[in-house]
C-alpha cells in the first residue's frame, strides 16, 4: 500500500510540472489555433538558461526562475511577433512547418554551443528527500510542485479576473468578435505566446535539477505536451491541468507496477483510450 501512495504522490508532483507544459501549449493553441511543435524545444532553452545561471553565477535553479520567466516570456513574444503572427491565416501545413523549423533551429543552435553531451545540474538537495506520513518525497520534486501550484493559481487569477486575461480568452473564443470590441488581437497573441513560452521555460527550469539536460530533450516533451493537451481538450486550461496530473500519475504507476521502460506505453495507451471514447478530451470542451 505504501508503494501505491508513494508512486501516486510522485506522479502528482511531476504531473504538476507536466501541467505547466500542457497549459502553455493549450494557451497558444487556444488563441492562435496553432500547435506549437517547438514547445519542448522552448522548454529545453529554459533548462539551459537555468543550467548556465547555476554553473556560471551559482544561482539556485528554483530561485533563478525569477530571471528565467521574464526572459522566456520575451523570447516567446518575439517568436510570435516576428514569425507566428505572419502565418496566422496561412494553411495549417505551413504553420506546422514553421513551428517544427523553429524548434529545429533551437535544438541545433544549442547543440552547436553545448554539443550533445548530457549536462547535469546537481544541487546539494538534488537527491535528498523528505518523509511525510512514512512516504518519502524527492525534495526538488516537492519544491517544484509548490512553485507549480503557485504559478497555476496566479494564471487562473490572471485569466478570470484581469481585463487582459479576459481579453485573451475572448480572443480565443471568437477572434473577430474580440476585434469588434476594440481588443488588439495581435497584441493578445503576442502575450499568449509569451505566456506559453514562459510556462514551458519554467517547467524546464523546475525539472533541471532532476533531469539530464541535452539539446534533443525537447521532442520528448513536445509529444508529452501534445498528449496532455489532447487529453484535457485542446484549448482548455483546466483540461491541461488535469491532463498533466493524469499523465504524471500514469507514468509513475506504470514505472512501478509494470516496468520503467514501459511507462511511456502506459501513457500512450491511456491517450488512445481517451481519443477512442472521449475524442473531445476529458472535459469535452475546447475553449479557454
Amino acid at each position: 500500500m505504501i508503494v501505491f501512495f508513494q508512486s501516486l504522490l510522485s506522479g502528482v508532483l511531476i504531473g504538476g510540472v507536466y501541467a505547466l507544459i500542457g497549459i502553455g501549449l493549450t494557451i497558444i493553441f487556444g488563441v492562435m489555433r496553432i500547435i506549437n511543435f517547438a514547445h519542448g524545444d522552448i522548454m529545453m532553452i529554459g533548462m539551459y538558461l537555468t543550467y548556465n545561471l547555476f554553473a556560471m553565477a551559482g544561482i539556485d535553479p528554483f530561485l533563478s526562475i525569477a530571471i528565467t520567466i521574464p526572459i522566456m516570456f520575451v523570447f516567446g513574444a518575439l517568436l510570435q511577433k516576428l514569425f507566428i503572427n505572419r502565418v496566422l491565416n496561412a494553411l495549417p501545413q505551413n504553420q506546422i512547418l514553421l513551428t517544427i523549423g523553429l524548434g529545429l533551429i533551437m535544438s541545433n543552435t544549442m547543440m552547436l554551443i553545448y554539443t550533445s553531451d548530457y549536462k547535469i545540474l546537481s544541487t546539494s538537495y538534488s537527491s535528498s528527500s523528505v518523509k511525510l506520513f512514512g512516504i518519502s518525497i524527492s525534495e526538488p520534486l516537492a519544491i517544484s510542485f509548490v512553485i507549480t501550484a503557485a504559478i497555476t493559481a496566479l494564471l487562473y487569477w490572471f485569466f478570470l479576473k484581469t481585463d487582459t486575461g479576459q481579453a485573451i480568452r475572448a480572443t480565443a473564443q471568437d477572434r473577430e468578435a474580440a476585434q469588434l470590441m476594440g481588443i488588439n488581437v495581435k497584441r493578445m497573441s503576442i502575450i499568449a505566446f509569451g505566456l506559453g513560452a514562459a510556462l514551458a521555460g519554467t517547467a524546464g527550469a523546475l525539472i533541471s535539477p532532476t533531469y539530464y539536460i541535452f539539446p534533443q530533450i525537447g521532442s520528448i516533451f513536445t509529444l508529452k505536451a501534445f498528449v496532455i493537451t489532447v487529453l484535457g481538450g485542446m484549448g482548455s486550461i483546466l483540461g491541461a491541468t488535469l491532463g498533466g496530473v493524469i499523465i504524471g500519475v500514469a507514468e509513475s504507476m506504470g514505472a512501478v507496477y509494470i516496468s520503467s521502460g514501459w511507462k511511456d506505453v502506459v501513457v500512450f495507451v491511456l491517450f488512445l483510450l481517451v481519443l477512442l471514447f472521449k475524442p473531445a478530451g476529458l472535459l469535452g470542451k475546447s475553449r479557454m
Binding site: D163, R169, A177, Q179, M181
Partner: protein, 234 residues
C-alpha cells in the same frame, strides 16, 4: 459623421462591392436594405476594418479610417454588433459585457453602462451569471447589443439584429433600436427586414448585388414602387 466614398471590395477574385457611396449624419438612424448576398455585411466589415478595401475612402468625423486597425476604429467610437451575434460562448453575461468595456475610454464608465444595459434589457440582469453560449437566440441578440453599448459608441453598426427572432421579439428589437438612438447614439442598421427597418429609419439605402441602387428618406423608400415590388411583395 460617416462618409463612404466609391468603396470597392473583392473577396479574392469575386468582386462584391462596386463604388459604394453612403453617408450617415450625427443623430440619424440609417438603414441599408437588400436581399441575401447583396453585400450588406461586407460593407460593415469594411467600416470595422475586418477586411481591406480595393479602393475608396471611409471618413469618420473627418478622419480617414481605412488606414486604421480594427481596434483603433473601435477607439474612435464605431462599434459593430455583428451578424449572428458572435457573443463569447464560454463567458458569462457579465463577462461578455465587461469585454464590451475593454477599451480605455469605456473602462471608466463600466458600472454605469452595465446599469444602463440592464435597464434596457432586464432579462440580461436575470441571466447575469449564465454562460453566453447557453442562452436563446433572442437573449444572445440582447447581449450582443448590450455588449456593443458598453463601449460608449458614437456610431453603432447593427448587422441583421432581427434575424432568427420570433415575430414578437422582432418588434421589440426595433423599438429598442429607436430607444438607443433617442439616447444619442447614431445608428447604421443593415437588414433584410425591409419594412421594419425603413419604418424606423431617417434615411435608407437599397443595395443590390453590391451596388447602391436607391437612396432616400425611409418613408419615401417604403412608398417607392421598386422597393414595394422587390421587397414588400406589393
Amino acid at each position: 459623421m460617416l462618409k463612404i466614398d466609391k468603396l470597392n471590395f473583392s473577396y479574392d477574385d469575386l468582386k462584391v462591392l462596386w463604388d459604394i457611396d453612403l453617408e450617415v449624419h450625427e443623430g440619424e438612424i440609417v438603414s441599408v436594405v437588400g436581399s441575401n448576398g447583396a453585400g450588406k455585411s461586407t460593407t460593415l466589415k469594411n467600416i470595422s476594418r475586418l477586411v481591406r478595401p480595393d479602393s475608396g475612402s471611409i471618413l469618420f468625423q473627418g478622419e480617414e479610417i481605412t488606414k486604421l486597425e480594427s481596434h483603433q476604429v473601435v477607439e474612435r467610437g464605431i462599434v459593430q454588433v455583428p451578424e449572428g451575434r458572435k457573443i463569447f460562448p464560454e463567458m458569462t453575461v457579465r463577462e461578455n459585457l465587461r469585454m464590451g468595456s475593454f477599451i480605455k475610454s469605456a473602462k471608466a464608465t463600466r458600472e454605469s453602462n452595465m446599469e444602463r444595459v440592464f435597464t434596457l434589457f432586464p432579462r440580461l440582469k436575470e441571466r447575469e451569471k449564465q454562460l453566453g453560449g447557453t442562452m436563446s437566440g433572442g437573449e444572445q441578440q440582447m447581449l450582443a447589443i448590450g455588449r456593443g453599448l458598453m463601449t460608449n459608441p458614437k456610431l453603432l453598426l447593427l448587422d441583421e439584429p432581427s434575424l432568427g427572432l420570433s415575430p414578437l421579439l422582432v418588434g421589440n428589437i426595433f423599438e429598442i433600436i429607436k430607444e438607443i438612438n433617442r439616447q444619442g447614439v447614431t445608428i447604421l442598421l443593415v437588414e433584410q427586414n425591409v419594412y421594419q427597418s425603413l419604418r424606423i429609419a431617417h434615411r435608407g439605402y437599397v443595395l443590390e448585388t453590391g451596388r447602391v441602387v436607391l437612396s432616400g428618406k425611409g418613408e419615401d423608400l417604403l412608398n417607392d414602387p421598386h422597393v414595394r415590388k422587390a421587397f414588400l411583395g406589393m
